[in-house]
């Protein structure tokens, strides 16, 4: 069989399969079958393949391995097919219609009613129930299709049915009911889905989830394009994107697309509506899928990522607040106000009167901090005995100034207390810092803290952290005018920002661009070596340093 003949036969056979071949095309096919006996075998093999694809689990079994290698090839169909269209022979295709052409389908259509009646009769036995499904849909083979990748405070409907990280979800499982908490599923084909409780869902395949009710957010890599979320009244097919779906118990569904585009399919087999919903758009579906209306996008409404280890629940915020980390939080506002770390002991503390007149003097040893996964350690800087160690990996701050090894008030997430005499809280450029709306790390000289930004990156599943932004200075509320400090930002011990000789009320903007390989970000406040104080005052007196709104910017 030559190539042209095969190409024509392929097309005629496929059109026939889909009931879209015209009378002339069927006659042509039969003519070919008579003229080329080898085509008869070929046509039987062709339909055998089609039957297996349509009704068996052969596609699932094929398991579509190693998708990552193919990412760049996904859905670049247009160029290829444009070329095919140019070179292929002209073939008439009847218009696609919801109902098959009358001439081709009159008998089967007439049959439908009888078919239903027959099925109702058949339904009178348990076997018939199973039969119906056996005959209409494939009988699925039990396969693991997703795993529980992350979980934060999950409570399942059946408490005894504990689902642990790494446990598999199977395509044949009963629907799962997550009463509360948040989980993240990783589908075998690559999509990651965060489900917020309360929700009922089932993982139908390695690229499909059914959401009966609840909220989920899907992140679908390019190679897993086609990931599908089914709800009772709508189907959302991903086209390489991120989107949130909220399915309510009353049947209404909301689709919010944050990146890429999706196809929203509603209606039933007789009348299907297909609508593209692209990034920045949202739709509400109601009335069993027949009413679709535009709604405003809720960009920060869905939990997009979670981290079991840190309890991180990320809703698409663009920054990680370092002050919140200092307060024991996850960087998104869960930290304790006026909570911080004592660089002398390496312990959490809560700021209070006990610290008002406390000026400890300790060694400059680097103290690893194990109580928070994003904070590597703390120290009291002093370059008198050589370079200061500033990370758990031994990175050194070569030009660390000599200090008196004394510090005040610890490293604290904000404050509104008045314990210096210069006014309540912290202030720079006339703006109050250290509050919920304008967080700050209060880091009086001489103290240093190192953040593990690689750990943050990991928790955010590789999200790019592009830079550190802040404003730094000595608070206008400092106890006296004697303050004079140097403030540093280090990365792997290397100075990336320094402002020396800062005095009370002075401030400057900090921007440190970060590379993908950067791991440790260190903030340091030390008394300026040139500082003079009257006799009887501590050398660090008045060095009320702060980093205002210190954030890591996420891309």
């Amino acid at each position: 069989m030559d190539g042209k003949l095969k190409q024509e036969a392929d097309m005629l056979l496929y059109l026939t399969l889909e009931n879209k071949a015209s009378a002339a095309q069927i006659e042509r096919l039969d003519g070919l079958l008579r003229a080329y006996p080898e085509l008869v075998d070929y046509s039987v093999q062709y339909t055998l393949i089609a039957s297996a694809l349509r009704k068996s689990h052969v596609i699932l079994s094929a398991s579509f391995e190693e998708p990552s290698q193919e990412a760049d090839e996904q859905f670049t169909l247009l160029k290829v097919f444009a070329e095919e269209e140019r070179t292929a022979p002209t073939i008439e295709i009847p218009c696609e219609a919801d109902e098959p052409q009358p001439t081709l389908s009159s008998a089967p259509t007439a049959n439908k009613g009888g078919q239903k009646t027959a099925l109702y009769v058949l339904a009178a036995s348990l076997a018939a129930v199973l039969l119906f499904f056996a005959s209409v849909r494939l009988i699925p083979v039990r396969e693991p299709v997703a795993v529980l990748a992350e979980a934060v405070s999950p409570r399942w409907h059946n408490g005894s049915e504990a689902v642990a990280i790494g446990d598999s979800f199977y395509n044949t499982d009963e629907p799962k009911v997550l009463k509360s908490g948040t989980i993240e599923l990783e589908f075998t084909y690559g999509a990651r889905v965060v489900v917020e409780g309360p929700a009922e869902f089932s993982c139908k395949s390695d690229n499909m989830v059914h959401l009966q009710y609840g909220r989920l957010y899907s992140r679908v890599p390019q190679y897993a394009t086609g990931f599908t979320v089914n709800t009772p009244d709508a189907r959302i097919v991903d086209m390489g994107t991120e989107f949130g779906v909220q399915a309510n118990v009353d049947g209404t569904v909301e689709l919010h697309v944050t990146h890429g585009r999706t196809s929203l399919i509603t209606g039933d087999q007789k009348k299907t509506q297909l609508l593209e919903v692209a990034a920045g758009q949202a739709r509400q579906i109601s009335e069993q899928g027949y009413a679709i209306r535009e709604i405003s996008l809720k960009r920060r409404s869905f939990v997009q990522m979670i981290d079991t280890k840190t309890g991180l629940i990320w809703k698409g915020e663009k920054v990680i607040q370092l002050a919140d980390l200092v307060g024991g939080g996850n960087g998104l506002g869960s930290g304790g106000f006026e909570v911080g770390i004592d660089p002398g002991s390496g312990q959490y503390v809560t700021l209070g009167p006990a610290y008002y007149n406390d000026h400890p003097m300790v060694s400059s040893a680097y103290r690893q901090f194990d109580a928070h996964p994003f904070i590597d350690g703390v120290f009291v800087p002093n370059g008198a005995d050589g370079p200061q160690v500033v990370t758990s990996m031994g990175h050194r701050f070569e030009d660390c100034p000599k200090t008196n090894r004394a510090y005040f008030a610890r490293i604290i997430n904000g404050t509104t207390q008045e314990f210096g005499g210069g006014g309540p809280g912290l202030m720079l450029d006339g703006m109050v810092y250290g509050t919920e709306s304008r967080p700050a790390i209060f880091i009086h000289a001489n103290q240093g803290i190192t953040f593990d930004i690689a750990a943050i990156r990991r928790a955010l599943q590789g999200t790019l952290i592009s830079r550190f932004l802040s404003v730094c200075g000595i608070s206008q509320t400092a106890a006296s005018d004697y303050g004079m400090a140097d403030m540093y930002v280090l990365v792997e011990g290397q100075v990336r920002f320094v402002q020396k000789g800062i005095r009370k009320g002075q401030s400057c903007d900090v921007r440190v661009d970060l590379r993908e390989e950067d791991r440790f970000l260190t903030l340091v406040a030390v008394t300026s070596p040139d500082k003079q104080v009257p006799e009887g005052y501590n050398q660090e007196h008045g060095d009320w340093c702060l980093f205002g709104e210190p954030v890591l910017v996420l891309e």
Binding site: D10, Q74, L122, L274
Partner: protein, 188 residues
């Protein structure tokens, strides 16, 4: 939107013997249904009508099963039942002369279908291998059509292609799979 039936079933309480028969029948059908369906499709040639004939076939098989037991070759029996259902279908379709072939061609196709189905299981194993050999684009579009159960029209809208292109792609993919399976069959 799940692929759910809108039928409401009310299971009858069966006695134990009936239950055993039902389970036995179901078990056999589960393992052999694909062969029966493949046979039907190879003769009927379009999914829609093949589904109906298959449904009729299963219905009759279920009704005849108690009196036909024990059945040595369930698939062969099913294909035999299907054969009569196909004949019934052909009678109903008489007026649409263009939708099915004449008797001579019909016999040829029947013979070929029976022959190909002798090594059905082997061919399905090969098909799994061949699916893995398809490029990602091909596998994706196959998945959309058969696994996600989208119609060509929907796929065309989803991918921004013309419907014509979807048909072309699908026809070629089926052809590639046939060739691949044949090649592997010959290597055995």
């Amino acid at each position: 939107m799940e692929n759910k039936s809108d039928f409401v079933f009310v299971p009858k309480i069966m006695d134990k013997e009936d239950q055993v028969k039902s389970e036995e029948f179901l078990n056999l059908l589960m393992h052999k249904q694909m062969r029966i369906y493949a046979f039907i499709l190879s003769v009927i040639r379009n999914f829609e009508d093949a589904d109906d004939v298959f449904q009729d076939t299963v219905n009759t098989m279920w009704q005849k099963y108690p009196e036909s037991r024990p059945i040595g070759d369930f698939a062969a029996w099913g294909i035999q039942v299907a054969y009569y259902k196909i004949l019934e279908y052909r009678k109903k379709q008489k007026r649409n002369v263009h939708v099915h072939f004449d008797s001579e061609l019909f016999e040829k196709v029947l013979t070929a279908a029976k022959s190909v189905h002798l090594d059905y299981d082997d061919r399905i194993d090969k098909l799994k291998k061949c699916l893995k050999k398809l490029g990602p684009r091909g596998r994706k579009i196959i998945e959309l059509r058969y696994y996600q159960d989208l119609k060509p029209q929907q796929i065309s809208e989803l991918l921004g292609l013309s419907v014509l292109n979807v048909y072309k792609i699908m026809s070629r993919l089926h052809g590639q799979l046939v060739q691949c399976v044949e090649t592997l069959q010959r290597q055995v």
